[in-house]
Amino acid sequence: MGKRPAYSNLCKAIEAGHFVFTGELEPKKILDLSEIIESSKEMIKTKRIIAANVTDGPQGDAYMSSLIPSYIIQRDAGIEAVWQVAVRDRNRVALFGDVIAGAYMGLKNILVLTGDHTALGDNKKARPVYDIDSTQFCELLSKIIDDGTDYEGNEISGGKVEMNYGCVANPNAVGEYMEPEILKVGRKVEQGIDFIQTQTAFDIDVAKEFINELARFNVPILLGIFPMKSHGIAWYFDNYIPGVSVPKDLLKALKSAEKDNKGNKPAKYAALDKVNVEFFKPFIKEIKENSKASGVHCMAVEYERLFIPLLGEYPEYAKGFY
């Protein structure tokens, strides 16, 4: 870890040398957080998931803001939030305001994102903001946390903001596109990031090469994986998430798991889980044993039943932090 202390459980656990796991929660266009709280409680039960990312209008959709759900899961479920904040919807004034509001509510992690363009979302006519970009947001966070000021240097009174922040990186930028991706992350390292969570990877060799390249920055890396609870989700991900393609064999296996067990829900779930465990268990093992990654970010949204089959063999390191 760099100059900044580990304020969050996530960073403390990494600093203590644990191979960490983070989960993911997605507030949607819904005035009800009970599912998210339930999911968070399930994550706690695994004793292996240290924190949960809370998404901020993924794919540019107009969803419930991530700030309040991040606070609620910490208060009602006891799991630490990795509060995702996109620069798409807020200028530097609003970002600053939200960050110190989040700090006041006890949030400890921020994941900085550019945010999918509004042209991709469900309110396509919106004017996106992008007053500052994600690297500049990292600089703003450094000013807030390390200097105790806003972007212009005006002081914050009444206390110190104690947070850690990270950025994302895309392991699917391969070949000639890897270098600009790595150099871009380098700029964010310069602006004081504490961790990196990557976009999802399906190719183990690509993932390992990418981690190897990022390792030069000496910043903890959590590789993203995406277990898919249905063939439909896998298909959507394959077709609609920028830069991600699901291996054809995996898509096929998920499809036949559903087809072979039509009408029998428990058998279908078991078959789908089996496909995911068979693909991702060796994947995680390989990442842990033969790469410099500090952990895995498991984007199994609303798919908590997979956590124990997938992560059960790892130590229950997280329970000391809750």
Binding site: R88, R92, L113, T114, D116, H117, A119, L120, P128, Y130, D131, I132, D133, S134, T135, Q136, E139, L140, Y151, V168, N170, N172, A173, Y177, E179, P180, E181, L183, K184, G186, R187, E190, Q191, Q199, P242, G243
Partner: protein, 232 residues
Amino acid sequence: MIITQQKDINEIYEMIKPYSKILIAGCDGCNQPPRSINEAKVLGQLLELKAKTEGKALIWKAITILRQCDDRIAATTVRPFLDDYEAIVSLACGLGVVMMNKIADKILTYPAQNSMFGGVQNASENDFIQYCETCGDCLLGVTGGVCPIAGCAKHLNNGPCGGTVDGLCEVGGYTRPCAWIEIYKRLKKFDRLDLFTKYRPARDYRSATSPSFIVINKTYTNEEEKKKEEKK
């Protein structure tokens, strides 16, 4: 050049509906595609037809102006017609429409165009393309001559973002190039990746705050110099 697109004929007609005599003014300035006397004439004919379908007679005259955004040129050209017409329809960009309203303030001038962007004609790639957004804080010196403001859907100063796939942008369904990948390629070609690696802090948007203006006719007097000399 300013790239414009003609508004829907119904929208233009709705604006001029209250009038029976209109002046239609083309512009021979930089706007593209051309919006000159011929285009003004065609618009007049279309509006006349549209009026006929509603049982109304429309009298119109088509003229063209060298540059509607130049107050002296626009004023001298349009002045002789102002007493005979009830409204003007301008085929210029927004600059021309605002200027016409200013210099011909006896009557209202209506826009027949949507001003799309300041662009170039680049026939090999696209008919018209936006290369500069006149943002007031030029970055081209550190980006290898590729503009990340006009060229990037998110106006990023430190790109690329995660929305680029194989050098193409998520906005527009991966058909347009990612400006930041273009910037990377240009700087790599000239062995200037040091510029790519460099962090660019947040922009000062005061340079782009509306309304923008630059004072050109400052006064000058030698009085102060004379006073200084006297003090010495």
